[in-house]
């Protein structure tokens, strides 16, 4: 029963969208198209992301993560985590589960947040897209300015959270 309860809102939404199509209600149809676009993206990326997380969990030993992007990893660790993030694709909410697995394996707080920052703003597959729509100059400038700012956010988060027993939870 509880399981169904969780889905009540989406089910009502789908019924409303269905009715909109039946009665040619334009607003509902538009929202339906938006939803379908986002849903497709989620269904395309998330399962892949979770497979990646599963493999990562099994194949990459904790010691290696700890050594390379853990507490003592310094600038090399930051570089590594940014590289890891920029090579991935998908929406930011797909990065949260990956951030969880990184943290579980011993990635430092700083690098978890740098990972999220880099993942959302400077993914390399997306950069080609950005250049296409907004031009090379804009894209390069934005990347160069954004990079140090999100590294700074990582440091600030670590400084703020380091003695507050912070943890990334498994949902």
């Amino acid at each position: 029963m509880k399981k169904i309860q969780k889905y009540i809102f989406p089910i009502v939404f789908l019924i409303l969208i269905g009715l909109s199509y039946l009665f040619d209600f334009a607003a509902g149809e538009k929202i339906g198209i938006n939803f379908w676009m986002f849903f497709k993206e989620m269904i395309l990326f998330l399962p892949l992301m979770f497979i990646l997380i599963g493999l990562f969990d099994v194949w990459v030993p904790r010691e290696r993560i700890q050594k390379h992007i853990g507490q003592e990893s310094g600038w090399k660790g930051t570089g590594l985590v940014i590289l890891l993030a920029t090579l991935q694709a998908g929406p930011l909410y797909g990065a949260f589960p990956f951030a969880y697995i990184l943290w579980k394996k011993g990635c430092s707080i700083r690098n978890v947040f740098i990972y999220l920052g880099a993942f959302s703003t400077i993914k390399i597959p997306m950069l080609t897209f950005e250049i296409g729509f907004l031009g090379l100059k804009f894209s390069l400038l934005r990347t160069l300015i954004t990079l140090p700012i999100f590294i700074l956010i990582g440091y600030l988060m670590e400084w703020y959270l380091k003695d507050k027993d912070f943890e990334v939870k498994q949902p």
């Binding site: 951030a99 804009f138 956010i153």
Partner: protein, 126 residues
Amino acid sequence: MTMFLKLLPVLIIMLVLVSVALFLIPNETLIKYIGEGSGIKGWVTAALIGSIALIPGFIAYPLCGILIDNGVAYSVIAVFITTLMMTGFLTLPVEVKFFGWKVSVIRNLASLVAALFIGLIMGFFL
């Protein structure tokens, strides 16, 4: 995989909210509020609207291309795009599942400030 199934209801609710938000804010309205000569108000609006949802790049970039063609300043676009990708109040329910309320809110607010800052610096160059 169980993690995925546990997240699914929250994710779907989030997608519903994002779809409705995107419908409520059509391009013409956006251009009116953040277009040429909108000044500080344009910045604030761009940051606020950008913060509502996390929109992935392949939707955000074409949208920003349209906005640029309609005379929106590059610095405002930088704010808009950074908040679109970094901060999402509608996606908070998902983020909270991993990071808890406090950290999620702090991360979003920090990103918001960062976005304004990025826009400011971009304004100097472009």
